[in-house]
Symmetry: C2
Subunit: 489 residues, 2 copies
Amino acid sequence: MTDSWVNSAERIGADLHVELAGSGSRRAALIHALRAAVQDGRLAPGTRLPPYRSLAADLGLARNTVADAYAELVAEGWLTARQGSGTRVAPRAEPPRPARVPKKVPRRAAAPAHNLMQGQPDAGSFPRGAWLSAARRALNTAPNEAFGPGDPQGRIELRRALAGYLARVRGVRTTPDRIVICSGFAHALRLLFGGQVLRGPLAVESYGLPFHRSLLAEAGVRTVPIGLDEQGARVAELMEGREGEVQEAREAARAALKDVRAVLLTPAHQFPTGGPLHPERRAAVVDWARARGRVILEDDYDGEFRYDREPVGAVQGLDPERVVYLGSVSKSLSPAVRLGWMVLPEQLVDPVLAAKGQREAWASVLDQLTLAELIESGGYDRHVRRMRQRYRARRDQLLAALDEHAPHITAAGIAAGLHAVLRLPPGTERAVLKATAWQGIALDGLAPYRHPDATMPGQDGLVVGYATPPDHAYQAALEALCRALPPAP
Amino acid sequence: MTDSWVNSAERIGADLHVELAGSGSRRAALIHALRAAVQDGRLAPGTRLPPYRSLAADLGLARNTVADAYAELVAEGWLTARQGSGTRVAPRAEPPRPARVPKKVPRRAAAPAHNLMQGQPDAGSFPRGAWLSAARRALNTAPNEAFGPGDPQGRIELRRALAGYLARVRGVRTTPDRIVICSGFAHALRLLFGGQVLRGPLAVESYGLPFHRSLLAEAGVRTVPIGLDEQGARVAELMEGREGEVQEAREAARAALKDVRAVLLTPAHQFPTGGPLHPERRAAVVDWARARGRVILEDDYDGEFRYDREPVGAVQGLDPERVVYLGSVSKSLSPAVRLGWMVLPEQLVDPVLAAKGQREAWASVLDQLTLAELIESGGYDRHVRRMRQRYRARRDQLLAALDEHAPHITAAGIAAGLHAVLRLPPGTERAVLKATAWQGIALDGLAPYRHPDATMPGQDGLVVGYATPPDHAYQAALEALCRALPPAP
């Protein structure tokens, strides 16, 4: 097998579907069929036709019949024949068929000048070389059965690599047989709730990703928000109902929370508002889950990107039998690699596998083998470490710009992750978003992240993603952002 | 970036999660934390610890503090230090945690000696070299945005390659914007029916894959079977009701079929019983769909593997506005590559994309880019052609074995695909399956493929998959099969 670039002259169509209609001359029928295929665009201009001998064998014709037909169509101008390049469909001026006119209007009239949307890692930093090396090693050493039907739980190579990696880096306690591979966080939620493994109502943080809420709503799961403060989610509300409400509302909220079967948390870095869950609250929510027989869903969406020295391990390590730990490579590598994982309490492994079913295996086996090799070889660690340095520098640049141009604005959630929240004076978020739009900046305010039933006071802020802009454009984006911020009071 | 094998000594843990508890000596706290991590198995035997300097920087400690802690743990026997190999977790005799005891019993008590199950291509023939070459070219030339959030419709590179390929090889008429990439046939069915793009009842062939029926049943779709004969599906039943039934049953069936909104067919090679759909019936079903505003779902599951000279193009080519064409690489390459596609009538494109949603993108982008490159470079054609020769030889070997040992047994569906159906005398299927099991052969009879509501007379037969056995085992499998067949009457 050569690895060199395939010469374009070799990009041949080895196979060709031709139907020879009628009972007349085979030569005429072949000419008719080929002409029709070129006319209606099935054979695109430039397509190389199979050699005489191979088409003749396929169709059960004499080689001369095919040669004659080709010659006729060259004479008619439908095909071209050139020494060394074979017979090809002739170029034409007009396109073969009009393309479909898209009905949807583009989401933005014009692309924004600056992209500070949260949620994506730096697409330009995907470790192409390391991935390809890992793919080569993985594919060359994989057993043949890897290319067979596959295990819906995921390849054992990847589950082994993850068990070791998550224990070492996130303090997760697991064995490979507690891990189920899926195609990402959304797929995990669909399996857990759509597959009837867990049931609602589900307690969620008052601020979170609207996409997750709508996905849960589609699965028929009611979500009940709990409050947030500087120590993270107010998990005491699970036991005691919400604080700071009038008596009647408090009673209703307490009743709703009493029915809750599970709680979805972002303990390492509350999404999107900021900090880690306080150690006492981590212990408290585990106690609650144990006492009531409930489940904690731990969304460890950016657990690998911490910039300060305070380690924040996974809550899962406190009680592997009460926590479903969820992670993916969407932030650490790329959302283009559709891989995520669940680390499950023992009693949930079989129900999740039943929900997956014998034929469910969305995640690419080739990607699974490659990621396993990337982790085992240390390449994944090296990439994460490199990206952590890069994102930390991005964050520092944001903080320096604020320090210089808007020192009165506080940035929250800066110890980790790929975004920060700039706190705004109450009631100013919409006006500031108009100003940022005017500056050509794409970014979110906090409002869309707020749960519609949340009773805690709303917060005003900007969610600033700093991972995606290219280096040369980042400083200009920050300056535009600072120009849009409200002046000091 | 080097492509050479990574030396095992370099498989280091660059990252380590350690929590330093208490307010006492940092050295003592670090020793305690590391010892605990080794004890409870989070740090597995042989794991390499980070260098002093890097752990010290991460934890904000003096380098000497880390060096002292490592030295203490080496002295205690928890770690080992060797020149050139760094500091590692010491090997231990007993495993860190008992593995989960699987609750499920294995599906078969003993692996069968011969595997003639249908449904899988030859796992040993996956074109590893060609795939890796294509992956290298694809990843090295992909734009950065390919590693961003991605288009739920699928990469344009792949949709372009497929539009050309399917036109050339299968006679499909489409443009890239009519194609939606998914992770396989099952995913396509889920999107079409779970996503409310199409509604039931759905007419299906009386014999088909039970998995598809159960998937449709889960989505709440009622399936109504239509009959089969030697010309394929009796599509006239869609217009006229079923033939050969008593008056009352015929009326009921006619009523059920009148409500049918779509029909799912395997026109190239009826699955599993055999032949292609007769040309007149192809035209008739398209006429029905046009006249009634119905949709044809064309499952082209093995359209590339035809061994005779009669070309059977896709029904989609007859009317792209009435046919949803469905294909995948599960048979042509491997089910480990989770890629399939839908070619849609224009009016269904937006509904399918709405069902997918903005964040749905199960199919690996890396695999999509690689497959596009494999098709464009001609590597996919070469692989299909090679496999066609291989499977044809397998089929010929089966026919030769039957000819020699059981000339009274007819093989059907032999002009295409990866399996054949051996016709059995009425009422003998169960007895013959006992005989094949006794011979250590894994294979299916026709019974599980029959729709439970089918009214056509049942057929007895064996579904013999000939793609999967390794070369050295195939002849023995055929001989065992022939020993299990009923003797000539």
